[in-house]
Every structure is written in structure tokens, then in C-alpha cells.
């Protein structure tokens, strides 16, 4: 039993796909943010896999993953701040209105 590049990348693709499904179907803003975090994780798996299999001597992919994590944290913070603002001022988290697939 061997596990190589393609296995990791496929796992990342599946995770990304699951996140995509969630973004398209969730109606709660927080729920969508959680699904987006799944997608970011898929991206990071990709980066770290490539860092190991393509450039083990340089680790650029790992550096990239660090930045992605930090920025994901910043985005989540701002997003939740807005959610809280909306909840406090308007008593609502847009369960009905946050709908990505609304064209």
C-alpha cells in the first residue's frame, strides 16, 4: 500500500468539494464561513503536499500555508464582528437572506 502525491491532492480536492457544497447550500452566515474554512484547509493540504513532494528543500508551500492560516483568521474575525453587529443592531443573522446562489 503506497500513498503518494495524488492521494493527498485527491483528499484535498474532496475536502474542497465538500466545502464548496456547503457554501452553496448553507443559509446561515456563520455556517458559510465554516464551509469556507474547509476550503482553506483543502488549499493548505495542497500547499503542504507540494512542499513535501515538489520542493522539500525549500518549503515555500509551508510558508504559503502559514500566511493562508493567518489571513483566514483575520477574515473570520472581521466576518464574525459583522455578524455580531448585525445580530446586536437588527436581531438577525440573515438566515434567509444570505444566499450565495441567488443570482
Amino acid at each position: 500500500m503506497q500513498v503518494g502525491l495524488v492521494h493527498f491532492l485527491s483528499l484535498a480536492a474532496i475536502l474542497f468539494g465538500i466545502g464548496l457544497y456547503g457554501v452553496l447550500t448553507r443559509r446561515n452566515a456563520i455556517g458559510i464561513l465554516m464551509c469556507i474554512e474547509l476550503m482553506f484547509n483543502a488549499v493548505n493540504i495542497n500547499f503542504i503536499t507540494f512542499a513535501k513532494f515538489i520542493t522539500p528543500e525549500k518549503l515555500t508551500g509551508q510558508v504559503f500555508a502559514v500566511f493562508v492560516i493567518v489571513i483566514a483568521a483575520a477574515e473570520a474575525t472581521v466576518g464574525l464582528a459583522i455578524v455580531i453587529l448585525i445580530y446586536r443592531n437588527f436581531k438577525d443573522v440573515f438566515i434567509d437572506r444570505m444566499n450565495i446562489m441567488k443570482w
Binding site: 500500500m1 503506497q2 500513498v3 502525491l5 495524488v6 492521494h7 493527498f8 485527491s10 483528499l11 480536492a13 474532496i14 475536502l15 474542497f16 468539494g17 465538500i18 466545502g19 464548496l20 457544497y21 456547503g22 452553496l24 447550500t25 448553507r26 443559509r27 446561515n28 456563520i30 465554516m34 474554512e37 474547509l38 484547509n41 493540504i45 503542504i48 503536499t49 512542499a51 513532494f53 515538489i54 520542493t55 522539500p56 525549500k58 518549503l59 509551508q62 510558508v63 502559514v66 493567518v70 489571513i71 483566514a72 483568521a73 483575520a74 477574515e75 474575525t77 472581521v78 464574525l80 464582528a81 455578524v83 455580531i84 453587529l85 445580530y87 436581531k91 443573522v93 438566515i95 446562489m101
Partner: protein, 171 residues
């Protein structure tokens, strides 16, 4: 290539990642979904260890599990009275969304596999990560990637200011 017990570990972790991720996107109770998100993130951290990225695994646990998910759970609980079980958490487009996602995954995996077969990924001869990878990473961040590092610090400052202004209760 990973072989033997690490390969088995990969499959177990992959199984956990996929199942818990599916739980995150499908569970009706948003609080439970958030808990499964934590599980997914832990599993991904384990995956990082398999990929000899110990530092990243630690970062994953500290920032993702420790900060982001907790923040999410906090927000979920704060708005809990609105997120009761009677409200539907998904829209009516789950079927097209499912199709889109499955197509996306299929195409992506096909492209990856084909690309790999045709030699599109310039694989390194050895997958042994050189030296102590945490120290190496630190050097990279502080030397080659100092500019994005500084830009990210500006970004964090902006996000901080913004989050405070937005979430602050005005008189």
C-alpha cells in the same frame, strides 16, 4: 511515497476528514456542525504531521482550532436563539449544488491524476524534508518572505481596527 503504517494512517485520517467535513456541511444543528469543524481541523493537523510539517500542525491546532473555531462557536452561541432547530439551515438548491460539487471533484481529481501521469508535477527525487523544518521555516519567513510577512502585519492591524470598530457598541 509513504508506505506501510503511515499509509494506513493516511487512510484513517482521510476517512475522518471526509466524514467530519460532510457533517460540517450537512448537519442541521449549526452548533454540532461547528464541533465537527473542530474535528476536521484536528484531522488535517494530523495530516500535516504525515507530511512532515510539524510546525504547521502546531499552528493549525493553535490558530484554527484554538482561535478560529472557538470564535465560530462563540458566535453561534451568541446568536443561538435564532438558530433553533425549526429553521432550515440549507436552501433548496442542494441538488444542483451537489451536482456542481461532484463534478468539480471529479474533474479536479481527473486533472490531477492525468497531470501526474504525464509528468506535469516536477517531483523531487527525495521527499525527505531537509534539516529542522521549523528553524528553516523561520528563516524563510524572516528572510525570503519578509515583505509579505510585514504586509500581513499591516493586514492584521487593519483587521483588528476594523473588527473593533464594527463590533463596538456605539452610544
Amino acid at each position: 511515497m509513504l508506505e506501510g503504517s503511515t499509509a494506513i494512517a493516511f487512510y484513517i485520517i482521510a476517512f475522518v476528514v471526509i466524514l467530519s467535513a460532510i457533517a460540517v456541511v450537512t448537519l442541521k444543528n449549526i452548533f454540532h456542525a461547528a464541533l465537527f469543524l473542530v474535528l476536521t481541523l484536528f484531522a488535517v493537523a494530523a495530516l500535516y504531521i504525515l507530511l512532515s510539517a510539524e510546525f504547521l500542525a502546531a499552528v493549525q491546532v493553535l490558530i484554527y482550532v484554538g482561535a478560529i473555531s472557538i470564535l465560530m462557536i462563540f458566535a453561534v452561541m451568541l446568536t443561538a436563539q435564532l438558530t433553533n432547530y425549526n429553521i432550515k439551515q440549507t436552501n433548496e438548491q442542494s441538488l444542483p449544488a451537489l451536482l456542481i460539487s461532484i463534478c468539480f471533484v471529479a474533474v479536479t481529481i481527473f486533472a490531477i491524476a492525468t497531470n501526474h501521469k504525464l509528468g506535469g508535477f516536477p517531483l523531487a527525487e527525495s521527499t525527505e524534508v531537509a534539516g529542522s523544518n521549523t528553524a528553516h521555516l523561520g528563516q524563510l519567513l524572516m528572510r525570503d518572505f519578509i515583505l509579505p510577512f510585514e504586509v500581513v502585519s499591516v493586514l492584521l492591524l487593519a483587521a483588528l481596527i476594523g473588527a473593533i470598530v464594527i463590533a463596538k457598541r456605539d452610544k
